[in-house]
């Protein structure tokens, strides 16, 4: 690969080809994505796993196993066109209810999302069990509290969610651009008094602009 000598260190780091081998071994040994930070911690002083990952990813292009990025972590995953060979390995995931799937999608596309926002979008109250199930599956976790009256908790998707759906990050969600372009990811409060949903404090200012934008033409 490369004989690029070790730099940025007082100590001699192993050659890049060797670093690539090390990253390969570490990532092969685990089912969980490993962050660059952890790779640095486990490899000899002066190593540059970020660079090694670039070479390694290239090496596995088109192979039966791919190197994939999940958030700021990396993992080997089998090529999805070979999934049919792995019938034996299929892990039965719990069947999600329609409510759970919709709730998950709303959290993923609107994150961070409060329960009130989820309810407003779905037009029904969200049962406690639905969010709990998603949290239990480790696809959803609590985000920062919203800085609005009542300081409601927010929900965000996790690295496990990204890993499960083969997403590098939440920006890669399918159809995200189109939804955003259509203005459907804006939190638009109901005009005046409405039973259909609560206005979210922080978005109130944008109210007028949004509406004209969408319905002008």
């Amino acid at each position: 690969m490369t004989d690029k000598p070790a730099n940025d260190s007082l100590f001699e780091a192993p050659p890049m080809a060797e670093q690539e081998r090390m990253v390969e071994a570490i990532l092969f040994a685990t089912a969980e994505p490993v962050s660059v930070h952890e790779l640095i911690g486990r490899m000899p002083h002066g190593c540059d796993p970020a660079e090694a990952l670039v070479y390694l990813r290239k090496r596995y292009e088109g192979r039966g196993v791919h190197l994939v990025k999940i958030g700021d972590a990396w993992a080997f995953r089998t090529a999805s066109d070979l999934g049919h060979l792995m019938q034996k390995e299929i892990v039965e995931t719990r069947k999600l209810s329609r409510a759970a799937i919709e709730t998950l999608a709303i959290i993923a596309y609107h994150q961070p999302a409060t329960r009130a926002e989820i309810e407003e979008i779905r037009g029904v109250s969200v049962s406690r069990g639905t969010v709990d199930q998603l949290i239990e599956m480790e696809w959803v976790r609590l985000g920062r509290r919203r800085m609005t009256p009542g300081r409601p908790v927010t929900f965000v998707v996790t690295q496990e969610f990204l890993d499960h759906f083969g997403l590098e990050n939440a920006r890669d969600l399918p159809g995200l651009k189109e939804l955003r372009a259509a203005g459907l990811l804006e939190n638009r409060p109901a005009p005046g008094l409405s039973q259909l949903g609560q206005t979210s404090q922080d978005e109130e200012d944008e109210e007028d602009d949004d509406q004209t934008e969408l319905f002008e033409d």
């Binding site: 685990t30 089912a31 995953r77 919709e102 779905r122 037009g123 083969g166 259909l196």
Partner: protein
Amino acid sequence: MTDSIFQEDVQTVAERQAAEALIVDVGAFEGPLDLLLTLSRTQKVDLRQISILALAEQYLAFVEQAKKLRLELAADYLVMAAWLAFLKSRLLLPPDPSEEGPSGEELAAHLAFQLERLEGMRKAAAKLMARDQLGRDFFARGITEDVQRVRRVTYTATLLDLMQGYARIRTRDDFRPFVMDRDAVMTMEQSLARMRTLIGFAGDWTDIASYLPEGWELDPVKRRSATAATFAASLELAKEGKIEIRQGETFAPIQIRKREPHDR
């Protein structure tokens, strides 16, 4: 049966659509917004071109039908019905300039937005679930190796710790209660017991130093303690009349010998 078909023909479009919607079980809807979205599909137009007025009428007809059939409708369906009736009146009547609040068009536009957004999320959810999934379409490593967590503990101390530690020992030494030195201390009782057994063999004058327990003479601390205890025991034995005791001069060795009973 044929009668009823002819009867249906006389119904208005809205009534027919409401009847169609009713085919779907009410329980299958996830709330009034979901029902509205389902009803809107009967308009067979893009959601952006939907007639909210027509939709409101469809919904109200649905609720009417449900009432006729004595179907139990959840409260939020009825709330929505009331709101749509209000919206319908707003949309039909010419705007009253004295009236406050949003116009019927604004309310309708928002409802259209909500329907479109819900539809958008439904489609997004479907796309998400259609993606290749871990453990179904692609797989993680099957044979994993445990990463051993090696806990390397490095110990540290400061100069202050060192000095305080030393000071602690030295000061403790100075004031250490006598009993703490047990292992280097010989009590008079111990010495007395020892001498009682040994004295029988000591017919001649013997330096009391030779009565020290074996090994104690090597350790200065032990020797000091044993010497004192032996000396005190000697005095006790002399008092009992078991031995005689003598010393040539100041600091000369102290000697003892067994006192024979006939000496009395």
